[in-house]
Symmetry: C2
Subunit: 376 residues, 2 copies
């Protein structure tokens, strides 16, 4: 396995070492910079106009205890679920989504237990668009219900065989029932990127008018690409007034970028799981997304979340599902802030490694390392 500690030829560079101003002065360039060069500074980016939409105005719905339960090696007992829920809450996610209480008696009891913890995060449960499930859900003590139904032609054929008129009728019944109980409600399609666009917009407009809190878009199979996500969310933003949540599978490795583009286009809520665990190879990972949004707006993200806790949270979940995050994991990987000096063309690495960092490791409780490779 990868060595957890730096080999002897690595040095740890203190974060409170000389900053750019001092380095510039020492190099004799005769002027100073006003701040450290993390590229998140909009003044330093030629294309800063792209930092738009809700990139600095969003909520995270962490689904480690729902989507994550569908990961190949996830078997969470009640105590593990409680530990994960408390850790997510301490990290600062705005919402925690739980497996449907209609899935099993154990799921129902666990849902009730987590609702009793008195977390700051709102607790949601994720149910089918069906009155039977809705009745069970509202009795658990959750703050809100995330309703989902398949709307793509594939799912209409293979999943429930319902047509759009029937879907709409059922959605209205469930939404009005949940709202009558004073709970928050989201209505989501499934496999949204293979659904008929007119059907999709029609259903969303209907549920928006009857007062749903959020609609959800789901890339259930992980087929979407960033500009496609941007366009769908922006189109939707133009026809509804409620919030927009997005759930993105990572089969082709674009789930973080797709989430970023969804926020640019006006989405308000992003689904994540710790380490991205979920069906197949999972969804948008919490750590990667937070790192990405930090790079765009460090102050906003530092204020919202307990960033130095990220690694502990990831370790907790990694242990629960018996996986090991790779050394190249975003932010918390053992080599995420390891710079190699000695190869061309990187002469400035040793003198000022921060030039090559979009994330300040100190903000995540991480340490920068320099690996020196002597010429042979």
């Amino acid at each position: 396995m990868f060595a957890p500690h730096p080999p002897p030829d690595m040095v740890q560079v203190p974060i409170d070492g000389p900053d750019v101003t001092e380095v510039v002065a020492s190099l004799g360039f005769g002027h100073t910079l006003q701040r450290r060069p993390f590229s998140a500074d909009p003044e330093r980016l030629s294309f800063s106009s792209y930092k738009q939409g809700n990139v600095a105005n969003f909520s995270i719905i962490d689904s480690t205890l729902r989507e994550g339960e569908q990961f190949a090696n996830a078997f969470f007992d009640t105590q593990t679920k409680i530990r994960i829920a408390k850790a997510l809450d301490a990290f600062g996610v705005e919402y925690i989504e739980l497996t449907s209480p209609a899935a099993s008696e154990q799921s129902r009891r666990d849902c009730e237990e987590i609702c009793k913890l008195g977390l700051n995060a709102k607790v949601l449960t994720h149910i089918r668009c069906h009155m039977d499930d809705a009745r069970i859900a509202v009795d658990t003590g959750v703050d809100g219900v995330n309703v989902v139904i398949g709307t793509s032609s594939f799912l209409q054929e293979f999943s429930h065989g319902k047509d759009i008129a029937y879907i709409t009728k059922t959605a209205i019944e469930v939404i009005e029932f949940v709202k009558s109980k004073g709970l928050e409600i989201r209505f989501s399609s499934e496999d949204s990127f293979r659904s008929d666009l007119v059907d999709l917009l029609s259903i969303y407009q209907t549920v928006d008018r009857i007062g749903v809190n959020r609609v959800g878009i789901a890339d259930t199979i992980g087929c979407a690409n960033p500009r496609q996500v941007y366009e769908l969310v922006r189109t939707l933003r133009g026809v509804i007034s409620c919030d927009i949540e997005i759930h993105l599978h990572n089969d082709t490795g674009m789930a973080i970028a797709n989430a970023y583009c969804a926020l640019e286009a006006g989405a308000t809520h992003i689904d994540t799981t710790v380490l991205g665990i979920g069906e197949r190879n999972g969804i948008t990972p919490l750590g990667g997304l937070v790192g990405c949004l930090y790079a765009a707006n460090p102050e906003y993200v530092k204020d919202k979340y307990n960033l130095p806790m990220l690694r502990e949270l990831e370790d907790l979940v990694a242990q629960a599902v018996e996986v090991k995050a790779p050394p190249m994991n975003y932010i918390t990987g053992s080599c995420a802030f390891t710079h190699t000096a000695g190869f061309y063309p990187h002469p400035p690495t040793l003198s000022n490694p921060a030039i090559f960092e979009v994330v300040n490791p100190e903000d995540f409780g991480m340490t920068r390392r320099i690996r020196s490779v002597p010429a042979v």
Copy 2:
């Protein structure tokens, strides 16, 4: 560690099982579909107009033996380099990029050895924009030279302190020298997304006019986002006529998506490394990128690359750098094609798991698995 074999409650589903046509017939829906529902089929995507540019017309420049050498735990001896080069060639990448022969005497000798292998892939080496390095490079037997120079204001200050006029003058000298030797040449900026756009376009236009084969854009610090990449590449595409290569670091987890958007905008060459290894947490991973581009155009990607060899190639590099790819790795992860049945709302999983797959596991020599979670 994660179990390499499926636990007892998993079943392996043969790929040559019933296809969608048969499933539809068996469900009695009274009509058939023409093909299996991998979403890559443009007819099934509402947003297929976004499949544009060079998404099905690109070359891969694999830099495992250059960028990958800068990974925290990479120490490749000559025999390991040769094994990796041969495996990359057998997989079918169009280019293999090697560490500068000016970096060390060992690098120079290894470069010569790999050039003598008679690979189908073109062999490149990556050098500073400097005549000393260029003279050493052209004598190694490489097919081409990838020249790089820092153009961002940070690198102008901290790296070499050269201004743009000087950069341009040096670039012309090096390019004309390499071309005079009959070799392919690319000229790349470094840290392109923090460089001044007018400087950047001005230099690229100059080198394009003197006949460079490619220009390169590099997101050296991993700060770029997909729509930003699209815009920069598209802008560049409008002012030059040569090929465009892009090199994308993965600090914020968007390197695959950024590569995809670069191709949409007209880039022609994408830099990868096996498992994404490189400086810090690395660059666009070869496997993830190939999976992503397969999802867009399966036939094109299947024709170009030996896809069932991907896992073996990844295992070879993983062993060389002593890392273990996580179970949620794109395509080759042990759970990439593991579906969980038993949780709502996924009733169709067991009857037709391909509904939820954007990649046909068979094409990569992988196996689909169903994990059954009995209700408690």
